[in-house]
């Protein structure tokens, strides 16, 4: 796990505009092709109210509308919700992925979609798309609050058959766990290079190190440490243990196995066996990883686990690493996958 995170951190460091610690990943503004409209919305999320980290309950989302949206006023559209990864916000992810180009290219292929990219950045760098009193219930934010807002403000195909969910890295993780817990909302799911598939474990040393990080240092720690701390606040929240409002995986000089158990309950790999009916209810499930991606092993495992349980799924290992081809694959693989598995009306 640590090795994987280190590999991940290294990949992301290349991306970061400045090498400074705790810098979230940025990308230059995405070009917007003629005919594509991009709107920035703010969605109030009741599911995030009262979170103990003080994460905003007003979440920004970018809504990318296809070429005919402004002309054909009676047409309704399929919507793909697209979840970003760790240490990046929604807007920079949208920029990095060049989402408007992807929506435009898909329209040229005759497949028009609305793509919605929500922002779920939290105090420590990522919500893990989990339901935590400390970070907020980000699963319900995506599956309920955001979907309800988009359906009531845009001409969507406002039913399960018209909605897809996809994401990259932590957003791929979010795709798995939100898919398994809210299957009634989405018809098809696609996880790109998903992180955090196996149960997260700690050694005595790593747990001790984590427990020694003050909150002041925690918010500006390196990628790996912040990913660990974010997992902790998402998966072992404790309203009575400030300042993190979470339980460290370290107690009385040892790894706290109860905390590790709570984390295990959030591992998509461990969750599959208990969510077979939910997974079988999707019309399409897809996932992929690059052959040079540190997460290839984990992503292969969950694909094989689906096979083991007789759950139909599409899987690809492609020539690439954790980030170098993800925007291209959103355009060339993910949107065509959604075109196949979502209803046009």
């Amino acid at each position: 796990m640590l090795k994987k995170l280190a590999a991940l951190a290294a990949t992301f460091a290349v991306l970061a505009a400045t090498p400074a610690m705790a810098q979230n990943i940025t990308a230059p503004p995405a070009p917007v092709p003629a005919g594509i409209t991009v709107e920035t919305i703010k969605v109030h999320s009741p599911s995030l109210e009262g979170n103990l980290e003080g994460n905003s309950t007003e979440r920004e989302a970018l809504v990318v509308l296809p070429p005919s949206y402004g002309k054909d006023k009676n047409k309704r559209y399929r919507v793909v919700y697209y979840l970003h990864g760790f240490a990046i916000d929604g807007r920079n992810f949208y920029n990095f992925m060049k989402v408007p180009d992807a929506v435009n290219n898909s329209a040229r292929r005759g497949e028009e979609f609305i793509v919605v990219v929500p922002d779920t950045l939290t105090k420590l760098g990522g919500s893990m798309y989990s339901s935590s009193v400390t970070t907020g219930d980000f699963r319900a934010f995506v599956a309920k609050d955001l979907v309800a807002y988009v359906d009531s403000h845009y001409r969507t195909i406002a039913k399960r058959e018209g909605r897809g969910l996809a994401g990259h890295s932590m957003g791929g993780y979010g795709t798995w766990v939100i898919g398994m817990t809210y299957p009634q909302t989405f018809n098809a799911i696609y996880a790109q290079n998903a992180c955090c598939i196996s149960p997260r474990t700690e050694t005595e040393e790593s747990a001790k190190k984590m427990a020694s990080v003050s909150i002041e240092d925690g918010v500006k720690a390196d990628f790996g440490m912040r990913a660990g701390l974010s997992s902790m606040v998402a998966w072992s929240p404790n309203p009575q243990n400030p300042p993190y409002f979470a339980d460290f995986p370290y107690k009385d000089g040892k790894v706290d196995q109860l905390v590790i158990a709570k984390w295990a309950a959030n591992s998509p790999y461990a969750m599959v066996a208990s969510h077979v009916p939910a997974l079988k209810s999707f019309r399409g499930i897809g996932s992929d990883a690059g052959d040079k991606d540190g997460l290839l092993h984990d992503d292969t495992m969950i694909h094989e686990e689906l096979d083991r349980f007789g759950i139909a799924n599409q899987w690809a290992v492609y020539d690439g690493d954790h980030v170098n081809r993800i925007g291209q694959r959103f355009d060339e693989v993910v949107l065509p996958f959604m075109a196949k598995h979502l209803d046009r009306k």
């Binding site: 158990a261 295990a264 208990s274 077979v276 009916p277």
Partner: protein, 344 residues
């Protein structure tokens, strides 16, 4: 809500008229005592399981005194999940259900009481979703509730549905409750099992993997059968006949971490932190356990965890063991609890 009440009332009035019209043909028999119906409910959620557990489930449905005489009346429903090792008949007899529900009605609390069959090949489903046992969680929350609402005069809304259970059924009540606050509005959890994390040891795994798939129903409680039941519910594996479980024994004698993770992921204490918002939607949550019950520690831990997360609930620790007081507590605690918390 007011609108749906009006519709319900109108439908009830229509039903009453229809009944009055046919009254000369089939006079409604006076029902002075609660009546225990033994029915079969088909569950698509359980169909196709690998253990061959029947999809047509036995269900006890107890209607209160006066149910037949008041065809316009709709009732709240208490769903009750029985414990491990026995079929529901044992609980029906232990509880003397007709007597319990007649007594409750006498105190002004006339409810419909429903107890489904949660038995399985290894003597208990743990009310979980598993391809090996069948999807009992979905059976309870979807198939059963829909069937009861369609066949009995229920108040078909969450505010009038309660969920309770004892031992494995206490686990089931908490588990199904955490996931389905849209179906039920109050929970009564008696002497819950499955609260803490049960890790698989090498000995357990060896014993489970040596099992040839035949089941000795005369075997005493405890031992390999309980492990097999929990593994079938929580670590199913469709590729491993004859038991279709993965006990996790690796060639080096250690246990596959994913099997331990699954056990953790299905413990109530492991599941709880991700379901706080669901639990906060309940009007009332009650836990109880006997002071001489080995599960008292788990119930205390569950209660402190709920307290820590600000989930309003009560824990009562009473003088008793695991099963010796449950007949009395159904009358003195469980039914009165739902009398207060279910809407009429």
């Amino acid at each position: 809500m007011r609108g749906s009440k009006r519709v319900t009332r109108r439908l009830a009035a229509l039903a009453a008229l229809a009944l009055a019209a046919f009254a000369h043909i089939q006079p409604a028999a006076a029902q002075e005592k609660a009546r225990v119906d033994l029915v079969k409910v088909h569950s698509p959620a359980i169909a196709g399981n690998l253990e061959g557990n029947p999809a047509d489930r036995t269900v006890y449905v107890v209607t209160p005194p006066g149910y037949d005489q008041h065809p316009e009346k709709h009732y709240p429903v208490v769903y009750f999940l029985h414990g491990y090792f026995v079929e529901p008949k044992a609980y029906a007899e232990l509880f003397d259900l007709g007597d319990a529900l007649t007594g409750a009605a006498g105190a002004g609390n006339d409810v419909i009481f429903v107890m489904p069959d949660g038995f399985s090949k290894h003597r208990g489903s743990f009310y979980s979703n598993s391809p090996t046992t069948g999807n009992y969680e979905d059976f309870v929350a979807h198939d059963l509730v829909a069937w009861v609402d369609a066949h009995y005069r229920t108040l078909a809304r969450r505010e009038s549905r309660g969920l309770a259970g004892h031992s494995m059924g206490g686990y089931g009540a908490m588990r199904v409750g955490m996931k389905h606050p849209e179906v039920f509005s109050s929970l009564y959890v008696m002497s819950a099992g499955g609260g803490s994390v049960k890790l698989i040891t090498r000995e357990m795994a060896e014993r489970a993997q040596a099992d040839d798939g035949t089941v000795d129903l005369s075997a005493p409680i405890g031992g390999a059968q309980g492990d097999l039941a929990q593994l079938a519910a929580w670590s199913p594996d469709p590729q491993r006949p004859p038991n279709f479980i993965n006990a996790g024994l690796l060639t080096d004698g250690t246990i596959d971490p994913v099997v331990q993770a699954r056990m953790a992921a299905n413990s109530l204490i492991g599941m709880l932190p991700q379901h706080i918002r669901e639990l906060q939607q309940y009007e009332a949550i009650m836990l109880d356990v006997g002071d001489k019950d080995g599960l008292v520690t788990d119930s205390r831990a569950m209660s402190s965890e709920l307290t820590r997360f600000g989930v309003v609930h009560k824990l009562e620790i009473y003088d008793g063991g695991h099963g010796d007081k449950v007949k009395d507590r159904l009358r003195s605690a469980v039914l009165p609890f739902f009398a207060v918390h279910l809407d009429r």
